[in-house]
C-alpha cells in the first residue's frame, strides 16, 4: 500500500507570480536559470513571447507568464527566474517572479478544477493543490505552450 501511494504522488515545483502560487510537474523541468539572460526579441510574435535565449548552445523561446496571464509585465529582480521546461521536443523558458520549493502532492491533496472558478483561463489549469493551508494552481503545460495559440494563426 505504502508503495502505491508514492507512485501516485507527484512532485511539483512551486513558483510565484505576484501573490499567487503555481505548480508545474517537476519531470517536465530541465533546469532553472538564475542569472540575468539577454533575451533576443523575435519580431511578429505575441507580446507574451519575450524572445529567445541561448542556453548552452540551444536556442530557447522565453514566455512571460505574467503577460500570458494578463498581469503586469515582470520587472527583473534578484529573485526572478527562468524555468526551462521540455516535453515532446518543445523547449521553452517561463519567466516567474520567484521559485519557492518542491512539494509532493497526491490525489488526496489535489482537487479538480470543476469546483473552482477563477480569473485564469481554465484551459491552462489541471487542478488545484493544497499544502498546509496554501492553495497552489497546477498548470497544464501542454496547453500553455500549445503551438496554435502562440503563433496566433
Amino acid at each position: 500500500m505504502a508503495d502505491q501511494k508514492i507512485l501516485e504522488a507527484k512532485k511539483f515545483l512551486i513558483f510565484r507570480l505576484g501573490n499567487e502560487e503555481y505548480g508545474i510537474d517537476i519531470h517536465k523541468i530541465t533546469t532553472i536559470i538564475e542569472k540575468d539572460m539577454n533575451i533576443a526579441r523575435v519580431p511578429k510574435l505575441p507580446v507574451f513571447i519575450k524572445g529567445v535565449i541561448n542556453l548552452r548552445g540551444e536556442i530557447i523561446p522565453v514566455i512571460s507568464l505574467r503577460l500570458k496571464f494578463g498581469m503586469a509585465e515582470e520587472v527583473f529582480g534578484p529573485d526572478t527566474r527562468i524555468v526551462i521546461i521540455k516535453f515532446e521536443e518543445i523547449s521553452a523558458g517561463l519567466i516567474v517572479d520567484s521559485v519557492a520549493e518542491v512539494i509532493e502532492l497526491d490525489e488526496d491533496t489535489t482537487e479538480s478544477i470543476a469546483n473552482i472558478s477563477g480569473e485564469l483561463s481554465m484551459d491552462y489549469i489541471t487542478g488545484v493543490g493544497k499544502s498546509g493551508g496554501r492553495i497552489i494552481t497546477l498548470l497544464n503545460l501542454e496547453k500553455l505552450v500549445s503551438l496554435e495559440d502562440n503563433m496566433g494563426k
Partner: protein
C-alpha cells in the same frame, strides 16, 4: 534466438538489395538478352530469401523463393524474358518493398500473403513463360485430378504450394475437396451470402484456396459462383447438407481431390525437374557465369569500399560540437582586454585553420550522393510513361554530386513533382510528337552538378514548353493582374505565376500545359532548404527547371548588421552589394519605396519597420545604408542602421515552438553568447 538486434541491419541491407533489384530489372527490360543482369537478379533474390528466412519473415521468404524458381527457369533457358514476366517481377519487387516498409514500421512483415503474385509466378513456371514458349507446356507436369464430370466448373489451378499443403493434410488423414457453390441469380448481397458460406465451411474445414480471391469475393467481384478448396476430415455429405441448407444457394458441387496420386506425380516430376535445373545452374555458374559474375562482384566491391554505418543522429551531435567550437573560436578572436602577442595570434590562426578543416571534414561525412534520390526515378518514369501511353527516356547525369544529408532527405518530393510534370504535361502524346516531326521517344533529362557554393539540379524535357500567353490570360482571368500590367510583364514574371498557390489549384490546370500542378509546393520546399527554383522554357521545344541548393546548411558566411539596437545576420551569398545612398533618393511608386540602382528601379524594404524594431530616436537621417540582396535575378534594397561585418556563423533552429515565423529562418549564437536572428532574404524580397 533473439533476432531483433539484427533487424536494423536486415532492413538496411534489404533496402539496398531491393534498390539493386530495381536497377537490374530496368536494365533487363532494356536488354532482355543480357544474362549478367539475370544473374544479378537471381543473386539478389537468393540473398533476400536467405536473409528473410533467417529473420523469420516467412512470407517474404516464400515470395523470394518463388521468384527464384522463375529466375532459375530463365537462367536455364526454359523460358524467355517477356514484358509480362518483367511486369510480374516488378510486382514482386513492389510486394517485397511493402513487406520491408511493414517491417520498418511494425517489426513484423504483416499478414499479406501476396497469393496473387505467388500464383502468377507458379503459373509462369507451369506455362514456361506463357507468351514466349507455349510449345514447352507439355513438359510441365500439370496437376492431374481424377476425371471431372463435364457439368463441373473448371478445375482450380493448384500450384506447387497448394499441392504440398494437400499432401501434408492427406498424411494427417484429412481430405481435400473442391467445392463449387452456385448462388441464386436473384441473390442481392452476394458477398454477404458468400461470407456465410465461408463461415459454414470453416466450421468443419480449413479453406486453403478460393477462386476468385477472397478479397474479390468480399468486393462482390464475382458472378454467381465461386470455387474453394478445403481441407477437412469430414465426409462430403456433411458439406452438402450444410451448404444446401443456406438460403439462395442453387447448387453445390463437391469433388474430392485425390491428393496423393496427383501430388506424388507432381512432386516426382518437379523434383526431377528441379534437380535438373539446379544441375544446369551449377554448370552455368561454373562456366560462362563465372567470369561475368566475378567481374560484377569485383566492380561492386570497389564501389562500396570500406564503410561504417553511422546513425545520422551521431553525425548531428558531431556537427553540433564543431559548431560550438567555431563559436568559441570566434569568441576567442574577439576577446578584449588581453595582450595580443605574436604567439597568441599564431595560436588563434592555427585554431581557425583546424576548425575550418574539421568543419569541412564533418560536412563531407554528412554528404550523400544525389544518386540515392535519383535511382528511384527510372522506375517511376517507366511506370508513369506506361500509364500515359507515352514513350519517355530518362537521361540522368551527375548522380555522384553530393549534397548534405538533410537536403537529400527533402529533395525527393519536389523532384518527383517536377519529373511527373515533365512526363505528364511536358512531353506530348505519341501522335502529337509524330505530327510535329519530333522523335517519338520523349526525352527527360535529370542533371546534377556543382556550381560554386551551390548544387544545381536540372529537370528538363523536350516537350511542348510553357505557353506564356495562356498563362498570362489565366492570370488576368484570375484577377491577379490587369491587362495594362500584363503588357509590361516579362516572360519571367509571367512564369512566376505558375508558382503561386492559387494557380496550382486552378480547375483547368491542364489547359496551361499543366505546369501549375503543385509547383508552389516545389517552390516552398526548395526555399525552405535555402534554395531557389528557376525556369527556362521555349514553346514547342521544352522546359527546363533549375533547382539551386546551398552546399552546406549548418555553417554559413554571414553579414552582421544592426537594426536599431538589435543584431541580425544576412546570408552572405545572397548579398549583391552594400551601398550608401542619400535619403532623398528613395521615391514612392504606388506606395512602395523604390530607389534607382544602375538604371533599374529596385524596391526598398526598411528593416526596422518590417521587423518592428523599437526605436527611440526616430529622426530622419541624411544617408541610409542599403544592403542590396538578390533573389534569383531580382534585387531588393534593405535599409539597415549599421554594418558590423562578416562572420562565419552557425545556424541554429528556432525550434518547433517558433517554427513558421516568416522573415526569420533561424538564429545564431554570437561570440559574446548572445543570440542574433538570421533574416530570410527570400521572404523579405517579396
Amino acid at each position: 534466438m533473439d533476432m531483433s538486434q539484427y533487424l536494423e541491419i536486415f532492413i538496411e541491407e534489404t533496402k539496398e538489395h531491393l534498390q539493386s533489384l530495381n536497377q537490374c530489372l530496368l536494365q533487363m527490360e532494356k536488354n532482355p538478352q543480357d544474362n549478367s543482369m539475370l544473374n544479378e537478379i537471381f543473386r539478389v533474390a537468393h540473398t533476400l530469401k536467405g536473409m528473410s528466412g533467417t529473420m523469420g519473415f516467412n512470407r517474404m521468404s516464400r515470395l523470394t523463393h518463388d521468384m527464384e524458381d522463375v529466375l532459375q527457369a530463365l537462367r536455364s533457358n526454359e523460358m524467355k524474358v517477356s514484358p509480362v514476366l518483367i511486369d510480374l517481377l516488378f510486382k514482386c519487387l513492389d510486394a517485397l518493398e511493402s513487406y520491408t516498409t511493414m517491417i520498418v514500421e511494425t517489426g513484423s512483415e504483416g499478414s499479406e500473403d501476396n497469393a496473387a503474385i505467388i500464383d502468377a509466378l507458379a503459373e509462369m513456371i507451369r506455362k514456361k513463360g506463357s507468351v514466349s514458349a507455349p510449345a514447352a507446356t507439355a513438359a510441365a507436369p500439370a496437376p492431374e485430378f481424377s476425371a471431372a464430370s463435364p457439368d463441373l466448373a473448371a478445375d482450380l489451378a493448384l500450384n506447387q504450394y497448394d499441392l504440398n499443403v494437400i499432401n501434408k493434410a492427406a498424411a494427417l488423414g484429412n481430405n481435400a475437396y473442391q467445392i463449387t457453390v452456385k448462388l441464386n441469380k436473384g441473390c442481392v448481397l452476394k458477398s454477404a451470402r458468400a461470407f456465410i458460406i465461408f463461415k459454414t465451411l470453416e466450421r468443419h474445414s480449413e479453406i486453403i484456396k478460393s477462386e476468385p480471391k477472397v478479397q474479390d469475393i468480399e468486393d462482390e467481384k464475382f458472378d454467381f459462383e465461386f470455387t474453394v478448396v478445403v481441407l477437412s476430415n469430414e465426409d462430403e455429405a456433411v458439406f452438402d447438407k450444410d451448404l444446401n441448407s443456406i438460403a439462395e444457394v442453387d447448387e453445390v458441387i463437391i469433388k474430392l481431390i485425390k491428393a496423393k496420386e496427383a501430388v506424388a506425380q507432381q512432386a516426382a516430376g518437379n523434383t526431377a525437374h528441379a534437380e535438373e535445373q539446379e544441375a544446369k545452374a551449377a554448370d552455368e555458374s561454373s562456366e560462362g557465369d563465372q567470369s561475368q559474375s566475378k567481374a560484377d562482384s569485383a566492380a561492386k566491391r570497389t564501389k562500396t569500399g570500406k564503410t561504417v554505418r553511422v546513425d545520422i543522429d551521431r553525425l548531428d551531435v558531431l556537427l553540433n560540437l564543431v559548431s560550438e567550437l567555431i563559436i568559441q573560436k570566434t569568441r576567442l578572436e574577439g576577446l578584449e582586454g588581453i595582450e595580443k602577442t605574436q604567439s597568441y595570434v599564431e595560436t588563434v590562426e592555427y585554431l581557425e585553420r583546424i576548425s575550418t578543416n574539421l568543419h569541412d571534414a564533418v560536412m563531407k561525412v554528412r554528404m550523400v550522393p544525389v544518386e540515392t534520390v535519383f535511382n528511384r526515378f527510372p522506375r517511376m518514369i517507366r511506370d508513369i510513361s506506361k500509364n500515359l501511353g507515352k514513350e519517355v527516356e530518362l537521361k540522368m547525369s551527375g548522380e555522384e554530386t553530393e549534397l548534405d544529408r538533410t537536403v537529400i532527405d527533402e529533395i525527393g518530393d519536389p523532384l518527383i513533382h517536377l519529373l511527373r510534370n515533365s512526363c505528364d504535361h511536358g512531353i506530348e502524346s505519341l501522335e502529337q510528337r509524330k505530327s510535329l516531326g519530333k522523335p517519338e521517344v520523349g526525352l527527360i533529362e535529370l542533371k546534377a552538378y556543382q556550381d560554386g557554393n551551390n548544387v544545381v539540379i536540372e529537370v528538363g524535357d523536350d516537350g511542348q514548353g510553357i505557353n506564356v500567353d495562356k498563362v498570362k490570360k489565366k492570370a488576368i482571368e484570375r484577377g491577379l493582374i490587369n491587362k495594362d500590367m500584363a503588357a509590361n510583364l516579362t516572360k519571367k514574371d509571367i512564369i512566376d505565376f505558375l508558382f503561386k498557390p492559387s494557380f496550382s489549384t486552378a480547375d483547368k490546370v491542364t489547359d496551361l500545359s499543366g505546369r501549375g500542378v503543385g509547383l508552389d509546393v516545389v517552390k516552398t520546399k526548395i526555399e525552405a532548404l535555402g534554395g531557389i527554383v528557376e525556369v527556362e522554357t521555349e514553346l514547342g521545344k521544352g522546359s527546363r527547371f533549375f533547382i539551386r541548393l546551398p552546399l552546406t546548411l549548418a555553417i554559413i558566411q554571414a553579414l552582421l548588421v544592426m537594426v536599431g539596437e538589435e543584431k541580425y545576420a544576412l546570408q552572405l551569398s545572397s548579398i549583391h552589394k552594400i551601398t550608401n545612398i542619400p535619403a532623398d533618393d528613395i521615391k514612392l511608386v504606388q506606395k512602395q519605396e523604390v530607389v534607382m540602382y544602375r538604371n533599374t528601379v529596385i524596391p526598398v524594404v526598411r528593416l526596422d519597420k518590417v521587423l518592428e524594431v523599437p526605436k527611440e530616436n526616430d529622426e530622419a537621417q541624411k544617408y541610409l545604408t542599403l544592403v542590396i540582396v538578390k533573389k534569383g535575378e531580382r534585387l531588393t534594397g534593405l535599409v539597415v542602421d549599421k554594418i558590423l561585418g562578416q562572420q562565419e556563423i552557425v545556424q541554429k533552429s528556432l525550434g518547433k515552438f517558433l517554427s513558421g515565423i516568416k522573415t526569420i529562418t533561424s538564429a545564431t549564437i554570437l561570440g559574446d553568447g548572445n543570440v542574433a536572428l538570421i533574416l530570410d532574404v527570400n521572404t523579405l524580397a517579396n
